[in-house]
Amino acid sequence: MSTEMNLHELAEKVIKLGLSLGADQVEAYTIFGAARNVQLERGAIRKFTDVANSGLGVRIIKDKAIGMASTTIFSHESIEKTVKDAYSLAKVSPPDKNFNSLPEDNRSTPEIKGCFDQNIIDLSVEGFTEMILEGVQEAQVREDAIIGGSFTAGNGERFIISSQGIDRFSKQTSITGYLSVKIQDGEDIGNAYYFDSSKVLADFDHLIVGKEAGDRALKMLGSQKIETATLPILLDPDSCMGTISPIISSGINAFSVFNRTAYFVDKIGDVIASDKLTITDDPFYPGGVDSSAFDDEGVISQKLNLVKDGILNTYITDSYTAPLVGLDNTGHASRGSFASRPTPSTYSLDIKAGETAKDTLLEDLKEGILLIGSSIIDMSGNPQISAQINQGFYVKDGEVQYPVKNAMIGTTVFEVFEKIEDFSKEQQNRHGHKSPWMLLSTLQVSGGK
């Protein structure tokens, strides 16, 4: 099933069958992938995994009603049943008056370099293992360090075909991995992790994964509870991206905008953040881990300036939501899996750097919190944020004093955007996701002391 022809034939068969049943429109979304995973336990190999993932998602429209069905089983009977299930669900579903049509897009598919690397496919189990164990060695900052982790090398193919003329194919490779390190001195525990992810083997830095995880675990020793106070917060690039990205993705998603639950509903052209904030979304970044020439409905993606000098430029849309918010389709449809209905989501964000050196941002901090790989996010989805500090340090007179434990930050997404005081001139580039250090002026910090 791993050949292009087989997947294409399968998708074409779905379209034909759906139309022959009486469907108005049909879409087939198929994936096939293979992944090799190595799991580590206490610094050594625990498990090798070699799995193939396949999936077919079918979307059928009948009289403006939508039915969806999916399967991982690619037998003739299973495919036929899946199409029939989608059709019968469409037939019994009430019509959706907001639905216009599945998208049409006859533009040719642009090429993005660096998304497929034969070296990842050719990587032997032994070679992969040796590479991982080199990373483990870097993480062994102390003899008693407890190291765990997981690394995956994989490849995947995606076909999207519809009755509206969409016919797209993509293939990509990926290599991802993380290491966690725990160091214990009596009751004092230093615990940290680090990860990397790439589409090209040569760009994957397994040694940094080990070194950062080990160094950070050492730094997390000696954590203390702090007093409740209002303090400025300095975020490293991972924390900055981890904070800004979910706020902007949820805040300008046209599906939520239409439902009036997006943070920045009716705000196009308005100030939504400090004038320091400029964000671009680039689906075409060469080798970007989340780069994609077309979205999950087969529409060509678009590079967008989302926020410029604190002013919101646009929402992100897909075929369903674009007409609902009166914008063009920006090609941002994204599916959680082959079984899901698409909704808009961002690709690779580029948060514009500032002009101040990151060391200066820290040195100028009289009292505050430094976050390393610890985002200010909330699980509720509401604009109110009540976030735990996972890896944070208390800073006094520009010097890091000690890691903090059992502390939280209470704020809102609006306050975070408004209180962006500065960005560093240095910008971290995690394979397309670009972020500088970010300084926020005072936020409420709840301490456990």
Partner: protein, 464 residues
């Protein structure tokens, strides 16, 4: 299918000290969501395939395959053995499975009314009416949704030690979600019912009443007082007690985390981990709850686990491997999401047992603090023993009385401090938290609960 995988197991020869199991897993489900007056998603899902695990010379090899013919399964099994042998060259620890634990049987969720026999219109009607009642309540209700889900799964498990098990699970659930908005202030209300069983578990859901209840609370929360900030006394309601006992304490009781030295409960069996009033159990044999099952994904018969008795830690959650490694008995905790994943040590229905205090008595004892209710979920860092939960709502406790409403807020604490800092245990436990527990990319249905619990020194992450 059982015959096919048995034939493969019998054909493959591995040393008796090693281990091989083959699991066929098939699942189908339906999911319908109505959002803001229109159908957002109407779908069904089918997954199926064979998972093969080989433990050879202390390392695991794992492969999966969607083809179910004998030849394909045999090839995949040989591959699992081959990659395990490569892994064994790089491993340092001893791993094996005890020969004595052999299970045979057939289990399954009892269905009074098979939901597959209920027509789709009836299912649609439940969620349409729920969503409509909430939506029409006020124009300050920005988004309303209601979802119905059912899933039906089947596993056949055979291993080279002699285990041969067939198991079926059926899970149903109906949910409602309301987002109230006024300007930049938003508040969400979420609730659900369901469990392991059939349509009988959904029948008692009264759509209009449920929709109105959620909408009313959403509006009330818009004008609720801002949550406080800092360390304080907290009463956790049964839902939050459940989230704590699952996320913070339960995950630390998973023996794979203990063996990997990633749990703060490592080496604490028979040690005091809480005050004497604390008893914690996990029982997948309780009928009709979301985390109920007869056999786990390794074929081990499920049983009640006594995690904490009178404040003393007694048991971990075990797979066959972890039970062998720690020289303890397996307890049927090896659960896998589907054929693409290996079983891990997981929970089922975890709860803190009842005590003797009424909510009023706990509030009186609390004097000043907050009473927090209903969780959106949370996460924990088991190695460090620090947890975080997001709560939907709460109330201030002032002068020993429950007073004004508080909007959503997060709470954080240290796992080992909570049961030690418990000063009151409520009278009745309820399995209030229905969730899907995530671990290493696998989501499985669970329930958690307990009574109201009064705990000191919890950090609340309010904005003032």
């Amino acid at each position: 299918m059982l015959d096919t995988i048995e034939k493969v197991i019998n054909k493959i020869s591995i040393p008796s000290k090693d281990f091989l199991d083959i699991r066929y897993a098939y699942a189908m489900g339906e999911s319908f969501t109505v959002r803001n007056g229109r159908f957002d998603s109407v779908s069904n899902q089918t997954t199926g395939g064979v998972a093969i695990r080989a433990l050879i010379d202390n390392a695991w090899g794992f492969t999966t395959i969607v083809n179910t013919d004998e030849g394909s399964i045999q090839k995949a099994a040989e591959k699992a053995i081959r990659i395990a042998k490569i892994g064994s060259k790089f491993t340092k620890q001893e791993r094996k499975i005890n020969d004595d634990w052999v299970f045979e049987g057939k289990g399954g969720t009892k269905l009074e009314i098979d939901p597959r026999e209920i027509d789709k219109e009836t299912k649609f009607e439940k969620i349409i009416q729920t969503e409509k009642a909430a939506r029409e309540f006020s124009d300050r209700i920005a988004e309303t949704s209601s979802t119905y889900r059912e899933s039906h799964s089947k596993e056949f498990i055979i291993n080279n030690k002699g285990t041969k098990v067939e198991n079926e699970n059926h899970v149903v659930r109906i949910m409602k979600n309301v987002i109230a908005r006024e300007g930049t202030e938003m508040q969400s209300v979420f609730d659900s019912i369901g469990g392991a069983g059939g349509w009988e578990l959904i029948q008692k859901w009264e759509p209009e009443k449920e929709g109105l209840k959620a909408a009313e609370m959403g509006l009330k929360l818009l004008s609720a007082r801002k949550p406080p900030s800092g360390r304080m006394n907290v009463i956790m309601d049964p839902s939050l007690t459940g989230v704590f006992v699952h996320e913070a304490f339960g995950h630390a009781c998973e023996a794979d985390a203990v063996i990997a030295k990633q749990s703060v409960l490592e080496g604490k069996i028979n040690n005091k981990v809480g005050v004497e009033e604390i008893n914690v159990y996990d029982d997948p044999t309780l009928p009709r709850l979301r985390g109920s099952f007869d056999y786990d994904s390794e074929g081990t018969k499920a049983r009640k686990r006594i995690l904490v008795e009178k404040g003393v830690l007694k048991e971990y959650f075990h797979t066959l491997e972890t039970a062998t490694a720690l020289d303890m008995d397996p307890n049927g905790s090896g659960r896998a999401m589907n054929f693409n994943f290996t079983p891990l040590a997981r929970m089922g229905n975890t709860y803190v047992d009842s005590g003797d205090k009424s909510l009023e008595e706990i509030a009186e004892h609390t004097k000043e603090g907050v009473y927090l209710k209903n969780s959106y979920g949370g996460y924990v860092m088991p190695a460090k023993g620090q947890f975080y939960f997001s709560c939907q709502l709460g109330y201030f406790i002032e002068n020993g009385e429950i007073t004004d409403l508080i909007g959503n807020v997060g709470m954080s604490g240290m796992t080992l401090e909570v049961f030690q800092n418990t000063y009151a245990v409520g009278k009745k436990w309820k399995p209030e938290f229905l969730g899907t527990c995530g671990k290493q990319g696998q989501g499985i249905p669970v329930t958690a609960g307990g009574p109201d619990l009064g705990v000191s020194d919890i950090v609340i992450g309010g904005s003032q």
